[in-house]
């Protein structure tokens, strides 16, 4: 793959991959390593993208697989630091509005409490705007599984955020 092709891929997809990876791994260092892994694979094996129609979906799948590998690889470390995943991560942009800032902190914390598989579906639905069909294809899961994971994840977020949401609405 030429340098310009790799740069084009980065410019087009790095933002989305970064946010997705950060939401999954909940650690900036792991996010960077996983993102590096994705682009290193693309540079080594340009043929991976040769017959891909949905470039974003394919890259999100690569990122998801990479993040799952990281999560598994670091499971021992994560167990040693129990509760790391539930810690609020700077997942969202800063806000000058205190209500929005509070909502973002609470939302980041609530997302951290979801299992990674639910978090991945919620992220792709809410912030990538993918349909359940495309989420199912991206994560290689059945359509009903994608829908049910989204429903369960959103229910948990709703329960968690409802008091604050009602207050600031």
């Amino acid at each position: 793959m030429s340098d310009s092709d790799l740069e084009r891929l980065y410019d087009a997809h790095a933002e989305a991959l970064f946010a997705f990876l950060l939401n999954l791994t909940r650690a900036e260092a792991d996010t960077r390593d996983a993102l590096q892994e994705v682009f290193t694979r693309l540079a080594r094996q340009p043929e991976l993208l040769r017959e891909v129609r949905d470039e974003r979906g394919f890259l999100l799948r690569m990122a998801h697989n990479s993040a799952i590998d990281f999560i598994r690889r670091h499971e021992v470390r994560r167990r040693a630091h129990e509760g790391l995943a539930a810690q609020p991560t700077e997942l969202f942009a800063q806000s000058s509005d205190p209500d929005e800032a509070a909502l973002r902190v609470e939302l980041a914390s609530g997302l951290g409490e979801l299992p990674p598989e639910q978090r991945a579906v919620v992220h792709l639905k809410l912030w990538e705007g993918l349909s359940f069909e495309r989420i199912a294809e991206t994560l290689e899961i059945p359509l009903n599984t994608a829908a049910s994971r989204y429903r369960y994840g959103l229910d948990k977020l709703r329960t968690r955020l409802r008091p604050l949401y009602d207050e600031i609405r």
Partner: protein, 171 residues
């Protein structure tokens, strides 16, 4: 919203979803781009990873065997010979087992009858049909000897304090 704006054709169904989806995500740090792309371009293409045991073992083993080519060849020849001999023996045993005819119950009974007739003509008892020898009778225990527990002397008996053993009281 982030630079990767939602391209959803399925709008969020409730206000909470819409509110969550509108929260802008963090952007990727600008300094990462040059590092990640440079590393991706310069990382050498490596062969598929061999299993650790295959990757590590041949180095010293090959070096060791290469130092003694005659011994290595002899060892290999010996192993081949043992393998051939073992395989041949197993095959021959199988062939013998396959060619051995099976003996029916009638043939066995007839053979026993013939053997019994032969012993009878010879005027001898067929040892296989003779009743097992009776076990020697246990020698009668001498009436003088009592069980060891009865022969044990009490303290008083030993010192001659009692002439007769007193009856034990249950209480």
């Amino acid at each position: 919203m982030n630079s990767h704006e939602s391209n959803s054709n399925l709008p969020p169904e409730e206000p909470l979803e819409a509110r969550l989806a509108s929260q802008p995500l963090r952007s990727v740090p600008g300094s990462w781009k040059s590092d990640i792309l440079a590393t991706a371009r310069t990382t050498p293409h490596t062969d598929p990873v061999r299993p650790r045991i295959l990757a590590a073992e041949p180095n010293w083993l090959e070096r060791f065997l290469a130092r003694f080519p005659v011994a290595t060849a002899s060892l290999a020849t010996a192993w081949v010979f043992v393998w051939v001999a073992s395989s041949t023996d197993r095959w021959l045993n199988g062939a013998v087992a396959r060619t051995t005819p099976t003996v029916s119950a009638e043939q066995i009974a007839e053979a026993r009858a013939q053997r019994a007739a032969l012993w009878h003509l010879a005027g001898l008892d067929d040892p296989r049909q003779a009743s097992p020898r009776a076990a020697p009778a246990e020698p009668a225990r001498s009436p003088v000897l009592k069980p060891r527990s009865d022969r044990r002397l009490s303290h008083d008996d030993f010192f001659g304090l009692t002439s007769e053993r007193p009856e034990r009281s249950i209480a």
